[in-house]
């Protein structure tokens, strides 16, 4: 099979995809007053179409290992196309808004759960006379602060030593 055949496969897929999108649009834009959509009715023609497309492809293709390479290429192109479509959807304000809303809802649920879990774990640890996470964190924070202070002292000592060095040099340069 050649690149042309691969392109043909891709065109086929593209056509299916376009038809799928149109079908979904029709499905979504259906007014609620009408009967609920039947998913099987939507998927059946697509499945049949896909089946036939593959069948045609296999029928036209000599059975050689090249077919596997074409199959891989076809999947790559399909994934790439899906990626582009999803990228376009995710680049909309509507998606960003929905994502923000979902995260906010998650936070609203997560905050009390996190607090309750922390309190419960702290309670258990306290009853076992073991240091809790918050206590260990406080100790670690103090160590970090101590390290900062030591570093500050090191800097000051280095500055003082530098000045002393400059003074010593100046003194040795002066004639006796």
């Amino acid at each position: 099979m050649t690149d042309a055949a691969s392109q043909q496969l891709f065109e086929l897929w593209k056509r299916q995809f376009d038809e799928g999108v149109q079908a979904w649009s029709r499905l979504v834009s259906t007014s609620p007053a009408t009967a609920p959509p039947d998913p099987a009715a939507f998927w059946k023609p697509i499945l049949e179409q896909t089946t036939q497309a593959w069948a045609r492809t296999f029928a036209q293709t000599p059975v050689t290992p090249d077919l596997l390479g074409q199959w891989k290429q076809f999947l790559d192109q399909s994934i790439d196309a899906w990626s582009r479509v999803l990228g376009q959807v995710m680049a909309t304000d509507a998606f960003a808004q929905q994502l923000g809303r979902t995260l906010d809802q998650w936070l609203v649920a997560a905050a009390p759960a996190k607090k309750a879990a922390e309190q419960a774990v702290d309670g258990v640890l306290q009853s076992l006379n073991v240091a809790s996470r918050s206590q260990l964190t406080a100790v670690a924070r103090q160590i970090v602060e101590l390290e900062d202070r030591i570093e500050g002292l090191e800097d000051r000592i280095a500055a003082v030593l530098k000045k002393l060095d400059e003074v010593a040099k100046a003194v040795t340069r002066q004639p006796a």
Partner: protein, 376 residues
């Protein structure tokens, strides 16, 4: 054939090999089939090993010494023959991922490559921060940790000037440092896939827009931004990534070299690192939402940050298919700095393709080393 049932087709396809053999297949086809069969056997062998007895990849093998440590952060020196006098300080991203991607595997390591080219390489590993570091802000990193590490690198190398390379978030962080401290002796600056104009930063810019994303609420509720949340964000930005990665793995599973590289890269790609809360708050607010660095409005440690104050030679590398730092937002640095010697290149591939993988070794690393060599 038109209406042939799919099951019939599959059966015909499956039995195609036997039929082809029976009907007298050409020697080329036969050879191809044999190769394919051998590949499949190797695929199964490697797959079973990956599942039942996975080998931990040996990453970060280039010899190094720790020069300095401050809290969780470390400064490492990778020594070279030092054919170039000016050493290179490498500033990667803080949080998100670990920096061993820059020294992934022997013969596939940016650090190893740069040391082979004669650059003494200093890596700033920001480290993995814990809940005790939730108060660590971006300002602390830029005004306290980064200057100290840069000074230690200068001191250790016994030189008066140093080149700085910022990768990804490391670029705006080091630019903030250099823009607020123009007196710091930096000889060259390289921005590799580092966003600068956050109004053109793509999907993350949209999702983190202040209309939709409340960073304060996140930090106040969670304290730190957990690694799993960061992972979810990066997976979402390219939802088909795992699919194509696994497809490519299957396709190349017969190739031991590929499997070795995949295992190492996959380990890195799934090892996310949390953000300290205050750092994340400031990063999202000042950079993604307000774009203060590019708008010349950023003030850190009481000092204004001016990109125009950076006058050293600047080299900017963007990646054509980078969806984390799209080329436009990286390229913006060229017009913002005050340097006369400045150059922008756009290379094929994505964000990681600049730093790891075969493409990086072919397209990116020689360009970076070449540009730097003539100025070091």
């Amino acid at each position: 054939m038109g209406q042939e049932r799919f099951a019939d087709v599959v059966e015909r396809f499956a039995s195609g090999y036997a039929e082809a053999m029976a009907s007298g297949v050409s020697p080329e086809d036969l050879k191809q089939w044999q190769e394919e069969l051998e590949r499949n056997v190797k695929r199964m062998k490697n797959l079973s090993q990956m599942v039942t007895d996975p080998v931990a990849p040996k990453v970060g093998q280039t010899p190094r010494e720790e020069i300095y440590r401050k809290n969780k952060s470390r400064l490492y020196r990778y020594a070279s023959r030092r054919t170039h006098r000016t050493p290179l300080l490498f500033v990667p991203n803080l949080g998100i991922s670990r920096p061993y991607i820059f020294d992934l595997l022997p013969h596939g390591s940016f650090i190893e490559y740069m040391t082979e080219q004669g650059f003494d390489f200093y890596l700033l590993d920001w480290g993995v921060f814990g809940p005790e570091d939730n108060g660590l802000s971006l300002e602390d990193c830029v005004t306290r940790i980064l200057p100290r590490m840069a000074a230690k690198a200068l001191e250790t190398a016994e030189v008066d000037e140093i080149s700085v390379l910022g990768y990804c978030m490391g670029a705006p962080l080091s630019l903030s440092f250099l823009g607020s401290r123009p007196e710091f002796p930096v000889k060259n600056f390289i921005d590799m896939a580092g966003p600068v104009d956050f109004s053109r930063v793509g999907l993350f810019g949209l999702w983190l827009d202040k209309k939709y994303f409340n960073a304060d609420r996140f930090v106040d509720t969670l304290g730190a931004i957990p690694a799993d949340l960061i992972k979810a964000g990066f997976k979402l930005i390219k939802p088909t990534m795992d699919l194509s990665t696994n497809l490519n793995l299957w396709w190349n599973l017969w190739n031991d070299k590929y499997v070795e590289g995949f295992t190492a890269l996959n380990k890195w790609a799934n090892e996310y690192v949390a953000f300290p809360g205050e750092f994340f708050r400031q990063w999202v607010r000042d950079f993604y939402q307000e774009n203060l660095l590019f708008r010349d409005r950023l003030v850190l440690g009481g000092r204004p940050v001016h990109l125009g104050a950076i006058r050293c030679p600047v080299f900017v590398v963007g990646a054509k298919e980078d969806y984390i730092a799209p080329p436009a937002c990286v390229r913006a640095l060229i017009d913002a700095v005050g340097s006369r010697d400045k150059e922008y290149v756009e290379l094929p591939g994505g964000h990681i393709s600049l730093i790891a993988g075969r493409g990086a070794a072919v397209h990116c690393w020689p360009k970076v080393a070449g540009w730097l060599a003539s100025r070091s």
